[in-house]
């Protein structure tokens, strides 16, 4: 099998990866983005984004993802969808990239922008009923719960925004939160409390997702404030209890923090020369589309400089 040589391999096609691809391809570097599913990353399943500058009325996550993809492709970046990377192997100063389909590429620099994945609750019924009433994507599945009763688990921005979105379809939306106050941005909290279709279940932990005949029937809740445990009958459960970094691919190569995020300096350098990282997989505090895009640009800039300096030193 022939080994295709490229300049920059970008792993992950979310805002960080697509912005890195834009910068790299504009600099005429031969760039391939390897996306394990579909381009856009987590924003594809985000209903509405109103804090990305330049769009005063906001826009859908899908739309923003499409625009970022089009802009990267405009300058020649190649995007491979459903391309899972199995391994990154250092070869002298280069890196061999192996896909799960058996394709191999030799890249002179690598940008890891693998992002983060929704955290699992780890309770009985969660795996069994995924796609059968348990969902991680309100924008994908919400419309299938018209006039039904659903619950959102979590108390952050994602949880409360998705609960608000679900009120368009469901007759009643519970927000189940383990604390007695929400973590979500104040302006989102205000909308939540003003919505008559939302009922917050404070200080409750999901113990089990119950089901029958292949679909969800409810959740068993444990109270953290001394109140009695209860069973909540439901048609659907949407889980937004945080994210975990998708850093397994590089856990043996790069320095990670305790939570598994890749340690980077402010320009996106990792512990391994020639490997850069950007976006939600890195140990930056703020995890937003705008910060992911910015860090993607920085990582591409540093990767390009690394390649240039190698050429000049020969």
């Amino acid at each position: 099998m022939s080994l295709e040589t490229i300049d920059i391999a970008i792993i992950g096609g979310g805002p960080a990866g697509l912005t890195a691809a834009l910068y790299a391809s504009r600099a005429r570097a031969r760039t391939i983005v390897f996306e394990q599913a579909i381009p856009g990353g987590q924003i594809v399943t985000t209903d509405w984004i109103e804090n990305y500058p330049g769009f005063p009325k906001g826009l859908s996550g899908q739309e923003l993802g499409d625009l970022m993809l089009a802009q990267a492709e405009e300058f020649g970046a190649e995007i491979r969808t459903f391309a899972t990377i199995e391994r990154i192997e250092p070869v002298d100063l280069d890196f061999k990239i192996l896909t799960s389909d058996g394709d191999e590429f030799l890249a002179r620099a690598v940008i890891v922008a693998t992002g983060a994945v929704p955290r699992k609750l780890g309770v009985p019924g969660e795996a069994e009923y995924t796609g059968r009433g348990v969902s991680w994507c309100a924008t994908c599945d919400g419309a299938l719960f018209k006039d039904k009763v659903v619950a959102v688990v979590g108390g952050g921005d994602a949880a409360v925004e998705e609960a608000l979105f679900l009120t368009k379809f469901a007759s009643l939306v519970y927000v189940i939160h383990r604390r007695d106050e929400l973590r979500a941005t104040k302006c989102i909290q205000e909308r939540c409390f003003a919505n008559e279709k939302i009922e917050v279940k404070w200080s409750r932990i999901v113990k089990e997702i119950t089901g029958a005949d292949g679909r969800v029937t409810g959740v068993d809740l444990a109270a953290t404030n001394g109140e009695p445990d209860e069973h909540l009958p439901l048609d659907g459960v949407f889980l937004f209890v945080g994210i975990d970094p998708a850093s397994d691919l590089v856990s043996g190569m790069l320095d990670l923090d305790e939570a598994g995020y890749i340690k980077t300096d402010h320009d996106g350098r990792t512990a391994w020369p020639g490997i850069y990282a950007a976006g939600d997989v890195t140990d930056t505090e703020l995890k937003q589309v705008v910060t992911a895009a910015a860090k993607g640009a920085s990582a591409a800039f540093e990767a390009l400089r690394y390649i240039d300096e190698r050429v000049c030193s020969i």
């Binding site: 599913a37 579909i38 594809v44 969902s135 299938l144």
Partner: protein, 108 residues
């Protein structure tokens, strides 16, 4: 004939349940990003295996009865119907290679 068949609530019984061939039915909606990604994959399978399997598409917004009847709670959901019975349920977008593997009993 390599086109995908548009299935509606009204035509579901005759087009899918009573079809002599196995039918892979894609439950989708225009607002669903992952559904759009499946479009080219399904089209290719329709073209390559038209002699063995029918590829149908059902818009869940316009045809809620069928989606409700088969407990479609997440899209894309792909159901394989053989002689009027559900022979396989696949939930979520997937690459062509995996879908072809899953369909091996009917197209292999």
């Amino acid at each position: 004939m390599s086109d995908m068949m548009q299935i509606t609530d009204a035509g579901f019984e005759s087009d899918v349940l009573e079809n002599a061939k196995p039918v892979l039915l894609d439950f989708w909606a225009p607002w669903c990003g992952p559904c759009r990604m499946m479009e080219p994959v399904l089209k290719e399978i329709a073209e390559e295996h038209s002699d063995k399997i029918i590829i149908g598409k059902l818009n869940v917004d316009e045809n809620p009865q069928t989606a409700t009847k088969y407990d479609v709670l997440s899209i894309p959901t792909l159901l394989v119907f053989v002689n009027g019975e559900v022979a396989k349920k696949l939930v979520g977008a997937m690459p062509k290679k995996r879908l072809v593997d899953e369909l091996a009993p009917w197209i292999g």
